[in-house]
Symmetry: D2
Subunit: 337 residues, 4 copies
Amino acid sequence: MIILLKRNVERSKVDELLRRIHAMNVQTQEVHGVQESIIGLIGDTSAIDPEDFKSIDIVAKVKRIQEPYKKANRKFHPDDTIIDVCGRKIGGGHFQVIAGPCSVESREQMISVADSVKASGAGLMRGGAFKPRTSPYAFQGLREEGLQLLLEAKKHSGMPIVTEIMDKSHLPLFDDVDIIQVGARNMQNFELLKALGKVNKPILLKRGLSSTLDELIMSAEYIMAGGNENIIFCERGIRTFETATRNTLDLSAIPILKQRTHLPVIVDPSHAAGIRSLVEPLSMAAIAVGADGLIIEVHNDPAHALCDGAQSLTPDSFDETMQKVKKTVEFFGKTMD
Amino acid sequence: MIILLKRNVERSKVDELLRRIHAMNVQTQEVHGVQESIIGLIGDTSAIDPEDFKSIDIVAKVKRIQEPYKKANRKFHPDDTIIDVCGRKIGGGHFQVIAGPCSVESREQMISVADSVKASGAGLMRGGAFKPRTSPYAFQGLREEGLQLLLEAKKHSGMPIVTEIMDKSHLPLFDDVDIIQVGARNMQNFELLKALGKVNKPILLKRGLSSTLDELIMSAEYIMAGGNENIIFCERGIRTFETATRNTLDLSAIPILKQRTHLPVIVDPSHAAGIRSLVEPLSMAAIAVGADGLIIEVHNDPAHALCDGAQSLTPDSFDETMQKVKKTVEFFGKTMD
Amino acid sequence: MIILLKRNVERSKVDELLRRIHAMNVQTQEVHGVQESIIGLIGDTSAIDPEDFKSIDIVAKVKRIQEPYKKANRKFHPDDTIIDVCGRKIGGGHFQVIAGPCSVESREQMISVADSVKASGAGLMRGGAFKPRTSPYAFQGLREEGLQLLLEAKKHSGMPIVTEIMDKSHLPLFDDVDIIQVGARNMQNFELLKALGKVNKPILLKRGLSSTLDELIMSAEYIMAGGNENIIFCERGIRTFETATRNTLDLSAIPILKQRTHLPVIVDPSHAAGIRSLVEPLSMAAIAVGADGLIIEVHNDPAHALCDGAQSLTPDSFDETMQKVKKTVEFFGKTMD
Amino acid sequence: MIILLKRNVERSKVDELLRRIHAMNVQTQEVHGVQESIIGLIGDTSAIDPEDFKSIDIVAKVKRIQEPYKKANRKFHPDDTIIDVCGRKIGGGHFQVIAGPCSVESREQMISVADSVKASGAGLMRGGAFKPRTSPYAFQGLREEGLQLLLEAKKHSGMPIVTEIMDKSHLPLFDDVDIIQVGARNMQNFELLKALGKVNKPILLKRGLSSTLDELIMSAEYIMAGGNENIIFCERGIRTFETATRNTLDLSAIPILKQRTHLPVIVDPSHAAGIRSLVEPLSMAAIAVGADGLIIEVHNDPAHALCDGAQSLTPDSFDETMQKVKKTVEFFGKTMD
């Protein structure tokens, strides 16, 4: 961290600032230019918020140099983390497709979709039991009953399941879930993240609608700081001025996250675009840019889906897309096992 | 709601769509143009998500015409809602200033700040006990102990207190809090909103960093649908590309919210700008644009604040600002009682 | 400017970098920490682009410390610039209202609007002769003929006129225009800015839809570097995700621009909101936050305006707003002379 | 276009509105619901701005249904446009790579880069002679001299050249240029677009930093309305809140532009990311998502480049990337001829 001082400040005030910094167990080094003086902070500054210094009257600017994350940082863990979910591997050259409906609606639906996405080559199944909806009057998911139907589909198909948690008080219900998803709106629900740090299960952490990549990594750091290092990032589009797509899929996020951290990253083309016809081209692009997996909405009857039908593939169109996904994953040197 | 059909669609498919709409207890009316056909939905469409229709192959576009909110809607409640907190009124011509530190740090701090902001004319006191922080390594607030210190400051000063809740499981701790604040990151924590719908206390609902005004209103609707209609909106800046300020304060939000709803709206100039010198001019602008109150950070020693010192006023500068606030509120025809 | 070096770099490469920097007539100072080394650049770095150093393999980060603008910088010109247009002063405590239609449409319209806005207290008149329109099929303005009608209205009313230029080749047509406006879409039309640097007339420089304040200041610097230091900034809203208003008016821009530069700043509430009912509250907020003027659309018949009728005031509603503007300007200590 | 009327409006006002619409040579159809009435406009509404109706007091909302572009619209030109530049084809299954330095700096540089990018498989050469720079003090390009050096490199290598125009007055200098580039900052320089409509040359139209896809298409429509239908779109990143990359590359734009128009679309990964290490993964993603080409910055000595060195590839790293580009283009079924 670098602190730039204002011009012509009193020495006594600089000394007081230095004492304050040293009290944080951080060393300092001063540089005095013709017009400017700089204090460099040397040591572990991850617990220091640069904002803390901005209120001091002799300080002009504060710049963080080192990344504020440790456990997620690739510098300290150069090898890719590989998440193993019941034998399905994600990361480190292993690619997985997670498929299923936006909402769990009925036993027949789940069994039917499970059979078809498994046949098409999906490795894991998704389905929403607790649904975050903008309106209190919209369908809120089948909740506990939905989780039961998901677990039945898991038993039937043998596919591990991924589903979203909306509140830490629901955690006991998620005992048999294989991957717990944190949705975009809860990416900075810090009490939930702390609770997930105590869980021994992979967490699929979706990027918030207006979260920077550094904030996303810090949310992973919250979970990891609690002891659970099994994090999978999910890029699902950010909110911008463009209205042609529901969100703007930020595929640059994938190489950036992989440079900065050792964690796997998957892409959700269905929610990003909100348009069925974009799911396949964005899936191809996600594989090409280096993603470790895809999460795709598939519904046996999109026209009658209780939410997000507009972006759901039918089992048939998912099957066609999967033929291309398999070839493309292989072309780019990854394996789907 | 209006559904625009694609060109040259089969009549049987249109009939099927009409049956499906009628099953939602909504009437329809068709218009057939030379090239386009439109179905108008007549009745209460608040439980219908326009996305539900976009997946149907004969549908080209869907547009919502009526607002999806009822309880917050000014159309059905033309009079301003006035929130009364221990005799301090907010809304309907009544203006309040809420002041205090970002974080509760110590008894001395709270007593000292309470005395000074009360003397300067603040009507309510704020202070964070549970603190949402981007980094797990940063100070997380004094939590339960912080709430106790707030309640002591309330007892000492007689000022009602406002503080943030971060998880619905903490609700029992908030029994003696006067206004419960929902922070920007939790604006769409729907499980929390539902729980607050069962509480008999005013809720200060802050706008999310990338939330539209309609989403903010829908979050109020979540709380109101549960039975608690005491909502105060808070505009605190949105996330944009501009980096000169921490967030971009959207003052147009105040007249828009007041046109669309009957609820009071206050402004947080401290968090919006993140810069001490902008707190006063933005406070003046907030009063001028029609806000019903301000929430301002005041710290007895900003240079040693444990968070957000850069935007905190000292008691002295807050006092100067309050002299202008009082005159300006009066100039614009509101009362601070 | 500060250059942070990567860890463990070869001394010979650092020396080569130092030689390269010295060749730019800039001094350097080195700081060596335990893990990091920093080179501080001392001197005039305004012609240096920080990007230039980012491609060098030993460089980790580059941060600019000093502002890259000189002529606009308040540090070097502490006093407010006051622009005098035929006796109407803008800046330094002087406030002006510029009013008129979006587009010049006819002689009758211009004379009628000129008479009414003058009577209401506007100091200058605006009107678009060259109109930037998103569609090539939309009305493009009366162009040369429109300029003539503006000049007739000026002759008739005695009010100085403000109108937009869209291409530097049109400059000869603007000889009798009093203030030349650069629209948001041309804020970074650098060839136009350079040409305006050679003109001896005030320039009203509107902020681009997605321009940072520093970019806006640099565009002023383009004009000032050419010799024309008569710049008036105009905040007119930025593009964000919010769709309730056409743009998001960024009123924090006013105190920021005034802290960083010595130039006057006015606000365009009409284009920012795109909604008639927001013009008055946003005008009040603009005065309160410290703006030096307003530019407001007024049309004698908004329902038949050839563009932007939705945001135009009628002469009557403008007159009502002006009564409040005058009192509010006085309340905040400025004069309209 | 659909006009939604307010409730309980007078019949005489509706009739007046209908007369006004009919005067625009557009037919109407009315629908009367229980609470709402709608007027549908039938016919060519491309010259009508929906804003025009918003100022009318009986109008509640106006929604455009049909796209406002005609010449660019795929509905009326179902086949892909193929641009042929001296035998290099772009679009309709043909893929081209345009490579070269950000700025033209010297004859040696241009000959050297031309030789190497041609050997690596680039089909066209780029280089900036007129450079848009944020600061007036930064290098502005070699201008006319730069164009000469580009033309020499063309003569030497046989590769067609692409270079940016910044003002319509420079057009005569571009007679021997093969593709004229309109930069992001000039995407809505409508006077320039009109001038380019009279030119018989392909135009590479870059998306503005905060332009929607519909605005980009309308800018193409400006050129096409003038008679020049040879447009190539270029997605080069949009401005968002994320700072990890210089801009956010919006790859969803490619399938959307291809659905809505018949024009080819290329991608500029160098400017989008501003980071050398992202050029290759984003190039792969661009091919996978369906782009018709790439424009990549290559500099023989990025560390000494006069602008944008941080994102330039060296000839060697470009050669490596091109080996992958060729295989990937072939894998996705396009040809580079």
